[in-house]
């Protein structure tokens, strides 16, 4: 099996991978459809999850088939819409207008351009150094001091999560292995889905009820273990040895699930249950940020762990 895989060219390997995943999804979807004849309510959530998976896999397939440039643009767009949802729910004032224009139309394109042109040294410091110092300046020039620190913190946080975090996903594409993005997304998604399903079935008491009505340490730990294990199994598609893949998957899962929790705390603070869905009538947002928030946290940590450890 392994030698057969190694005999294929990288392109053939990716194609095979997508073939397997689309096959699995088809089987699961057919099974879920057949189950609807029996009990409706139980399967509904699962089918929703499947639909999300279909969309995600399709998007990744298109991104891969169309080449790196297209992937850059794709993630820049996702970042744009995620930031839009974030800013919509974070109240800003008139004086922040220039800073917001800066974030959407200057910082975001430059950051993704830096990634696409492989300016790795600059793209890791562009936002935390230059932008984070420039944003308060733009706000101060706006001449409004009401809740100044709070407004700037919100804006910087939005830029950090939605632009800086997400820009590390396409950056992985340029690290040399075409599978790193897939590895990261698949591992983190597995961990989140396992956690979600376990929480549903175990009916444990929430560990941090003020932040999340579902999160508990037991399901979290099991999700971690399974996510890392899947990462170890997938080591053959990465440049890592199984042990390294396991450790990196673990890091990505911790970052991803904790990030999801942080975003939940933010949502609670704003008094909404989801960035889009539950509150659709009020904000009109699509809930994209709910889907990618774990990636926003996992991608930079994963990227820099890989770069640091392997010294690329």
């Amino acid at each position: 099996m392994n030698s057969f895989l190694r005999s294929l060219s990288p392109t053939q390997q990716v194609a095979l991978l997508f073939f397997v995943i689309f096959g699995l999804l088809t089987i699961l979807s057919v099974a879920a459809f057949l189950m609807t004849f029996r009990e409706e309510s139980q399967v509904k959530n699962f089918r929703k999850l499947l639909r999300t998976s279909w969309v995600m896999v399709a998007v990744f397939w298109i991104a891969w088939a169309a080449g790196t440039t297209f992937a850059q643009i794709l993630f820049a767009l996702i970042s744009f819409f995620a930031l839009r949802e974030f800013i919509t729910l974070s109240p800003t004032r008139r004086g922040d207008h220039r800073s917001l224009v800066l974030a959407f139309f200057v910082v975001l394109p430059i950051q993704f351009w830096l990634v696409a042109t492989r300016h790795f040294d600059l793209f890791t410091v562009f936002i935390p150094v230059y932008v984070f110092l420039a944003v308060p300046v733009a706000s101060a020039l706006g001449g409004d001091t009401k809740r100044f620190l709070e407004r700037n913190a919100k804006l910087q946080w939005g830029i950090m999560v939605c632009i800086y975090g997400l820009s590390h996903v396409p950056a992985l594409l340029l690290l040399g292995s075409p599978f790193l993005v897939f590895f990261l997304v698949f591992v983190v998604q597995t961990c989140m889905v396992v956690q979600h399903l376990l929480t549903r079935h175990l009916n444990r008491k929430p560990s941090i009820p003020a932040v999340s009505s579902s999160f508990n340490w037991y399901s979290w730990l099991l999700g971690m273990i399974l996510g890392s294990f899947v990462g170890g199994l997938l080591s053959f598609i990465t440049p890592f040895r199984p042990g390294q893949a396991l450790a990196l998957a673990f890091i990505a899962c911790v970052a991803g699930s904790m990030g999801h929790l942080v975003m939940k705390a933010l949502k609670r603070d704003r008094g909404v249950t989801a960035w889009g869905h539950g509150d659709r009538s009020v904000t009109g947002a699509g809930g994209l940020l709910d889907r990618v928030d774990s990636l926003c946290f996992a991608a930079p940590i994963f990227f820099h762990s890989v770069r640091w450890y392997f010294g690329q």
Binding site: F80, R84, E85, I87, T88, T92, R94, H97, R98, L100, V101, F104, F105, S281, V282, T283, G284, A285
Partner: protein, 104 residues
């Protein structure tokens, strides 16, 4: 108001911003008399208050580049001009009906 009267006579609907301008304040400015005049002329026209959330943040007065923030529109229950209601009273009541939708 003549063009508006024509539109209503044809039986079409109108979207009116009765404050007549954009301001720097968080609340809309006081409503102008146009709404009252139309309401007296067309007592059967249904007046639906509507609040556009976030519209101020998209493009504040005096700015050039809009920010792509999501907006939403909330519609309220129709109001009508009461028998013998004072102009100022009616306009303030209409404005309150619009502002009340902000927190809905």
């Amino acid at each position: 108001l003549q063009p508006l009267v024509h539109v209503l006579e044809r039986g079409d609907s109108l979207i009116i911003f009765p404050e007549g301008t954009r301001g720097y304040a968080e609340d809309p400015g006081p409503f102008k008399a146009g709404l009252y005049n139309l309401a007296t002329k067309f007592p059967h026209a249904v007046l639906v208050p509507a609040w556009i959330d976030n519209i101020q943040r998209v493009l504040p007065k005096g700015e050039v580049v809009p920010v792509p923030i999501l907006c939403s529109v909330t519609f309220g229950a129709p109001i009508r001009l009461e028998e013998g209601e004072d102009r100022r009273h009616f306009l303030d009541r209409a404005r309150d009906a619009v502002i009340a939708l902000r927190d809905a």
